[in-house]
């Protein structure tokens, strides 16, 4: 039996990286082929009959080249006015420029109807809306992604087979069952998306790949919590679908923004008071025998509140200040929890969200400088963080003390080479927090540098996909949140990978979807909801017609 395993390992350690590369190739091909068409949801037509099309449910009017309705006249402001859908109507609001609708000067946001005449700096435009139904916008054909899913299934079976053979002497029955459940689950999901005509797997495929790796690491490290892991994946998927459903009603979210913010800050405050400390950070909240990390959900709340507060209402400073205040409050609680990895992720995501909607660069600069100052104060107040910086880039000098985790990760990564030593054959798993904070090293050691690289590239793929979604999103809410989610994933993965390999200080954050964990896994799936929500293309509106038409 040992020779069978040796032979299987010798072959599969080549097959798995090859399948991973094939998956990367297939994903890129899928990405290129599944570019959705742009559909006009409204247009402004000049007197001469030249149309300016609006492809999303909101748009800017002005002379800046980044305006959707471009009016290159010196008398037009850079960002003159904004049009958007709200409460089943199209609206127009001034951003500082003078706007007349049907020859009436407007001071507040005003409903636009089909056929309305909008005058901006002596330029007369007629508004026309296109009543695209939701069913119409989904009618275009897309590649199904089934091929990728088949390759992924083969990958999962080969990987599961290798682990089963490795532990054949004392095989936990959960192990093959969990791998089987993963395969079956993903095909049920696939069938469901086909039935519901939402055939988009661009975000799911990288995440399924990562979840497979996470399951493999868990199966080798702690097979007894495999079932819990699988349960969390299930909860995560359901939570993701629920949140995606909620996000469809972004106007409802907008209305409930204060509620979201209050709940988040409240739970974080409770955690500060009653939280327990596990591995340095006091960010665990226990209810009965069940404990979870509220800061993971706070990340999701940040995107939600950020998306709402920086909603299309660019005119309202009140909302922007509220968002900054919310961020400051949450980061304050994180400082009290001594969870610096989460603070960094929170801060970077906040900056990106602000940047997506920002009109004023000075504010971003001020926030950046404020962060530098705050960081300095933090380093002075918490010497153990400064210690982490002192060992940073010198880990080999402290290989048996403060650099222990990083050096072991690098030793393990090199031991695995590009192809890995096989699941369950690694040495890193005996180090504390190996399957959470150092999981990249486990991937490198047991599954090889190529698979670890593919795992890292999954997050890059999600980043590129988020940028695509931002371009085609129905409105700014989805564009902002999906980019925030992508940056959050990328930055957290960067902290995880580069922290454990001494390119950045070790902060002890997880690698989303791969690291073992309950809350963090569920929260990671919640981020997927922002992708699913942003995939919905812009719809039109049917409005009553103005008399002039």
């Amino acid at each position: 039996m040992e020779t069978v395993y040796a032979l299987y390992l010798a072959i599969s350690r080549w097959v798995l990286p090859l399948l991973s590369c094939l998956l990367v190739f297939l994903w890129i091909r899928y990405f290129r082929l599944s570019r959705p068409p742009r559909q006009t949801v409204a247009r402004f037509v000049t007197r001469e009959g030249d149309p300016s099309n609006l492809y999303a449910q909101e748009g800017l009017i002005g002379r800046s080249k980044h305006c959707d309705i471009l009016l290159p006249l010196p008398t037009v402001e850079k960002r003159h006015a904004v049009v958007y859908q709200k409460k089943g109507n199209w609206w127009i609001a001034s951003l500082g420029g003078e706007v007349w609708v049907n020859e009436e000067y407007i001071e507040e946001e005003t409903i636009l109807l089909h056929g309305d005449m909008v005058a901006i700096a002596e330029q007369e435009l007629m508004f026309e809306c296109n009543d695209l139904e939701e069913e119409d916008v989904y009618s275009y054909r897309m590649p199904s992604g089934a091929l990728s899913l088949i390759v992924l299934t083969v990958f999962q079976l080969v990987m599961g087979g290798q682990i089963c053979l490795r532990f054949l002497d004392a095989l936990p029955t959960m192990l093959p069952i969990c791998f089987g459940a993963l395969v079956v689950g993903q095909w049920i999901y696939f069938a469901a998306t086909r039935l519901m005509h939402r055939p988009m797997l661009l975000a799911e495929l990288p995440i399924l790949y990562l979840v497979t790796l996470g399951t493999a690491v868990c199966a080798c490290a702690t097979p007894d919590v495999l079932l819990k892991q699988l349960f969390c994946i299930g909860v995560g998927v359901v939570g993701c679908l629920c949140l995606a459903f909620l996000l469809r009603y972004h106007e409802f979210c907008y209305g409930a923004r204060y509620v979201f913010a209050l709940i988040t800050v409240g739970v974080m405050a409770v955690t500060v008071v009653f939280g327990t400390r596990i591995y340095g950070a006091r960010n665990w909240l226990s209810i009965g025998s069940y404990s979870f990390q509220p800061s993971e959900f706070a990340k999701v709340a940040l995107l939600l509140v950020g998306g709402c507060c920086l909603y299309v209402s660019l005119t309202k400073w009140k909302n922007r200040w509220f968002f900054l205040f919310f961020c400051a409050a949450v980061m304050g609680t994180l400082v009290l929890m001594v969870d610096f990895g989460a603070i960094a992720i929170f801060f970077v995501t906040m900056l990106v969200i602000l940047l997506m909607r920002m009109t004023d660069w000075r504010l971003v600069t001020a926030i950046g400088l404020g962060a530098v100052a705050a960081g300095t104060v933090v380093l002075l107040l918490y010497p153990h963080i400064a210690d982490r910086f002192s060992v940073w880039t010198n880990v080999w000098q402290y290989a048996s003390s403060t650099g222990y985790q990083q050096t072991r990760t690098m030793i393990a990564a090199a031991s695995g080479g590009l192809l890995g030593v096989g699941g369950g054959n690694g040495t890193l798993l005996s180090v504390a927090a190996a399957d959470t904070d150092l999981v990249f090293g486990v991937l490198c050691e047991e599954w090889g540098g190529i698979i670890a690289l593919c795992a890292a590239m999954c997050f890059v793929a999600l980043g590129f996909y988020a940028v695509r979604l931002a371009r085609f999103a129905a409105c700014g809410f989805y564009a902002t949140t999906v980019c925030g989610a992508a940056v959050m994933m990328l930055f957290q993965t960067a902290l995880n990978i580069f922290g454990s390999t001494d390119l950045l200080p070790l902060t002890g954050v997880t690698m989303m979807f791969v690291s073992r964990g309950g809350t963090s896994l569920i929260a990671a799936f919640l981020l997927l909801a922002f992708f699913k929500a942003a995939e919905r293309p812009a719809c039109g509106l049917e409005t009553e017609r103005r008399r002039y038409y």
């Binding site: 492809y55 999303a56 305006c67 030793i411 192809l419 890292a456 409105c475 940056v487 960067a494 990978i497």
Partner: protein, 451 residues
Amino acid sequence: MKRISFHSLAVIVVALLFCAGLGLFYGRLALVGDAWATYPTNRHLYKDGHLVKAGEITDRDGTVLAYTRKGTRYFHEDIRIRQATAHTVGDLDGFVSTGVHSAFLNELTGYDLINGTYNMSGEGHDMRLTVDADLSVTACQALGNRAGTVGIYNYKTGEILCMVSTPTFDPASETGLAEEKGVYVNRLLSGSYAPGSIFKLVTALSALENLDDVASHRYTCARGVTIGGEWLSCLGNHGKVDLESALVKSCNAAFAQFALTLGRSRLTKTAEKVGFNQTLTMDGIACTQSCYQVEKSNDIDFGWSGIGQHNDTVNPFQFLTFMGGIAGGGTCVWPYLVEDISSFSGTVKTMSNGKRVSMMSKDAAATLSDMMRKDVTDHYGDGNFAGLELCAKTGTAEIGDQSTPHSWFVGFCRAPDKPYAFVVVVENAGAGLGVASHIAARVLKAAPKWS
């Protein structure tokens, strides 16, 4: 929306930074991954800090010098072989940095970037060395409890047959010995001694290559010679000598005057051509430099430098290659130690053996070779070296204080069945002709016949 979509490029910026970080990590993995993998806490390769996962090391006849069984590393059962090959094979804790266990750690453990520490056999790669274990034992016994080194290599193929350094240790049991005696230094590769008279071979070579009519250059020796107002003494009163008789008689006065005739730059150039002032390598292992620095010396010091005193230092391995160069007709077939590296599935790495280095003209090599032969027949006595057709030169390295000088014996055999160049250094052994030459004779006679 255009504006938001433009600002979403921030995500691309973050993604590209992330990719740059990954590039940095994988670049470091490719460049220094071997150092990470062979760090002594790596439990893929080490147990309790001792190397366990490594292949077999065998000598040229297949005698297993070191091997791993069931997670423990063993050396040859015979303590004499263990001690004689200790510096070649190296210890498991890395005290002998030039030993195979340290210098070829990647090859031995089978580490490479693609496979990491994985081998299908579960063992490392096997290495076959060119050394002869029995000959090493002979050399080790010949050196006895004196400190020194014996290096012998086949100047036709480059194989190092014998690389012994004393004092030695038993790698199977003795580690962490006191460092001051230098037990962990392989004196052949890392030693550095004053050359004494063996440097006259370099001066002679320079004269042969640079002076038009060498035979016409004759110098007077009157138990020495006055240079720049200072006395340079000679061991005999040699009268008028030419190059050949000067070498046979090892006349200091004549060679000092040859050096002055040649001048600093020409002599330095010759010295550098045969390996002085350069870091030489043997199978990638860096050796200690031989030094010849005379730019700033005055005439008397320069005269002394021409006969191997002043501040000259010589690394035994460098002189071994020089001997190989003379024996090989001006071109040295570079010595090597590792014959091949193989895994259970076949040879995994062939070393770039047989590198040739041109050192001198064919004529100069032939003349020098004949002179060294005459040295043996006329001076040292060929009877001690029967059947070897030995060409050799002795050296006595004065070491400043009142200690007994180090003794050198270098050269090569011209017998077709023993094409071996050799270098013997014995510390504090007095004149070169004596202890060192006896050791050389004993080891060369024991050396296997080559066909």
